[in-house]
């Protein structure tokens, strides 16, 4: 299972790529594997405000549906529109092409609360038991 070192993670199995004030968000390799084939993704609109820990969308597979939780608070500045027509991208490339939203972080302090790759890997291993 792949957990890139340059990303941050949450216990809800989202990843965050921090680039200055902009944070790109998606779901991890573990999450897409658990879900199975993704068939539909529901994302917010550009301009929507998200709050850390609250849902910003939904990802569906044939057998399950999962809320997407914002890792940080802020304003949505970009949305990966093509995902709606090609939801399989989330399975095939969860960390690059499968990105979901970009958020302009309103509270940089929240970034320190995210897990780093080794901590997330440990969390996943513990959950599996």
């Amino acid at each position: 299972m792949n957990f890139p070192d340059d990303l941050k993670y949450t216990r809800d199995h989202e990843w965050a790529r921090v680039q200055g004030a902009k944070v790109t968000v998606g779901i991890t390799d573990f999450a897409q594997d658990q879900l199975g084939d993704v068939v539909y993704v529901e994302l917010p609109e550009v301009g929507d405000v998200v709050k850390k820990g609250e849902t910003f969308g939904v990802v569906e597979s044939t057998k399950a549906v999962s809320d997407l939780f914002a890792p940080i608070s802020g304003k949505v500045v970009e949305v990966n529109g093509p995902l709606v027509d090609a939801p399989e991208t989330v399975n095939e490339d969860p960390y690059e092409e499968g990105w979901m939203i970009v958020v302009e972080a309103s509270d940089p302090k929240e970034l320190t609360e995210l897990l780093d790759a080794p901590a997330y890997r440990k969390f996943v291993e513990e959950e599996q038991e």
Binding site: V39, Y40, E60, S61, T62, K63, A64, V65
Partner: protein, 445 residues
């Protein structure tokens, strides 16, 4: 007992394998004080011969010698015997929900065909795999509208079937949404001025019957336009589905959702149930649609097949966030309608619809000749409200002769003095011209 195959030898062997000495040991986990210590107080067992006689006696206490002149939401039509013979095939009849699609392609393809028929009849793009009945389908359509628009008010025509309205208000009592009812005019159609005044930016949907409870073809295009102006969804409800073989499709007239029942096809009136409710929507609403839906796909060898799909809307996955708590659909009733519609086809459906309209006209002419005019002036399909004086007395008098005359409208509209003498009656292809004549004479005498 013919359904229980176990011989005493079977039971002994099985108890041995289970490692217990008697069947009651297997119920150990039920605390003794909770166990029933007496036999059930239900009638003693009987055999099939006696059972048949008993049920025939019961059935004979229902007067069904003549086709009923009652419509009002359930319509007696001719069901070709071939429908039942196909329906009763054990592989259809005794199958369950198609959770294992490889061994349920019969059910699934038939559902796909039902869905297609519903879209053809309603002129809308998507249909689900059937609902419990027309009334609950209407309630579910309204809930779809409130979810989609995030609004909390629905405007309903007083000419919509009273049972549908009652069910709607029961469902909405749980959600707290507001129902506003607008009156009908002397033509029997919804009062459009009142409708326009009632629709505002809190309105999620407008609902009217098509045809409505009075058998009148209601003003769907105008009502849909009013709804659209207000940002609300237009919902049409049809309980006499044969009318859709003659009348313009609700979707073509501006309806966003069409609901009702297809009981008129393949299903008898059966004292009110079961029957296949339907729900059709325009494309954009699919993720909010309640109920099961069958979709086409391929198997791993590339052959086309069908599966239940979009399941993540439903209760077994979404649980408390489901679009509805619906689990079962109306499988067999929907299959009966699908078979009947396949037999009717393009020409047969148009013929049946025109024939029903003609019978409706013959009924109106016969009643006019006998001295009974119409309560409403609006155009009708096969059902209409007649001014007969004392409608209840007419019903009671004809009941003694085994004729089900219709329903007195005052029963549902007690506050409208114009309804006092109104009798709602229908004529379908089951009512011969001679029977219609006899009926009109009987009403007069």
């Amino acid at each position: 007992m013919r359904y229980h195959p176990h011989t005493p030898g079977d039971v002994r062997q099985m108890l041995d394998v289970c490692g217990v000495s008697s069947i009651s040991d297997l119920f150990r986990s039920i605390p003794a004080r909770l166990r029933l210590e007496r036999p059930l107080d239900v009638p003693a067992a009987t055999d099939e011969v006696s059972l048949l006689a008993e049920f025939q006696r019961l059935a004979a206490r229902n007067r069904t010698e003549h086709p009923p002149f009652i419509g009002a939401g359930a319509y007696a039509h001719h069901v070709p015997p071939v429908v039942d013979q196909l329906l009763l095939r054990g592989e259809f009849f005794t199958a369950y929900t198609p959770y294992q699609p490889e061994i349920a392609q019969g059910t699934l393809q038939a559902l796909f065909e039902w869905q297609t028929f519903v879209t053809l009849l309603t002129g809308l793009e998507i249909s689900n795999a059937s609902m419990y009945d027309g009334a609950s389908a209407t309630a579910e359509a309204v809930l779809l509208a409130t979810r989609t628009t995030s609004r909390d008010k629905v405007v309903v025509s007083a000419a919509l079937h009273p049972e549908y309205r009652k069910v709607l208000s029961t469902y909405l009592a749980s959600t707290g949404d507001e129902i506003v009812t607008v009156p009908y005019g002397p033509d029997g159609r919804t009062d459009l001025a009142a409708l326009d005044a009632a629709v505002d930016d809190r309105t999620a949907a407008v609902v009217l019957g098509y045809p409505n409870f009075f058998g009148v073809i209601d003003a769907l295009p105008e009502a849909a336009a009013i709804a659209k102006r207000g940002g609300a969804l237009a919902i049409s409800a049809t309980s006499e589905a044969v009318s859709l073989g003659l009348l313009q499709a609700p979707g073509a007239l501006g309806a966003d959702v069409a609901v009702g029942t297809l009981q008129s096809f393949g299903n008898g009136v059966s004292f009110g149930g079961p029957a296949p409710g339907f729900l059709a929507i325009r494309e954009g609403l699919v993720r909010q649609m309640p109920g099961r839906v069958a979709g086409a796909t391929v198997d791993r060898t590339g052959r086309r097949g069908f599966v239940l799909t979009l399941s993540t809307r439903e209760q077994h996955i979404r649980r408390e966030k489901a679009t509805s708590n619906i689990c079962t659909n109306a499988g067999l009733a929907a299959l009966a309608a699908t078979i009947h519609l396949s037999l009717l086809g393009k020409g047969g459906l148009a013929h049946l619809a025109r024939l029903n309209h003609a019978r409706g006209k013959q009924l109106r002419d016969a009643m006019k000749k006998a001295g009974f005019g119409l309560r409403f002036t609006g155009p009708t399909f096969n059902e209409a409200a007649f001014e007969v004086g004392d409608a209840q007395a007419v019903v009671d008098r004809l009941a003694k002769r085994g004729i089900a005359a219709g329903v007195p409208l005052s029963r549902w509209y007690p506050d409208d003095p114009r309804m006092k003498g109104a009798l709602l009656s229908v004529a379908t292809e089951l009512h011969t011209p001679e029977l219609i004549e006899l009926f009109a004479q009987s009403v007069r005498e």
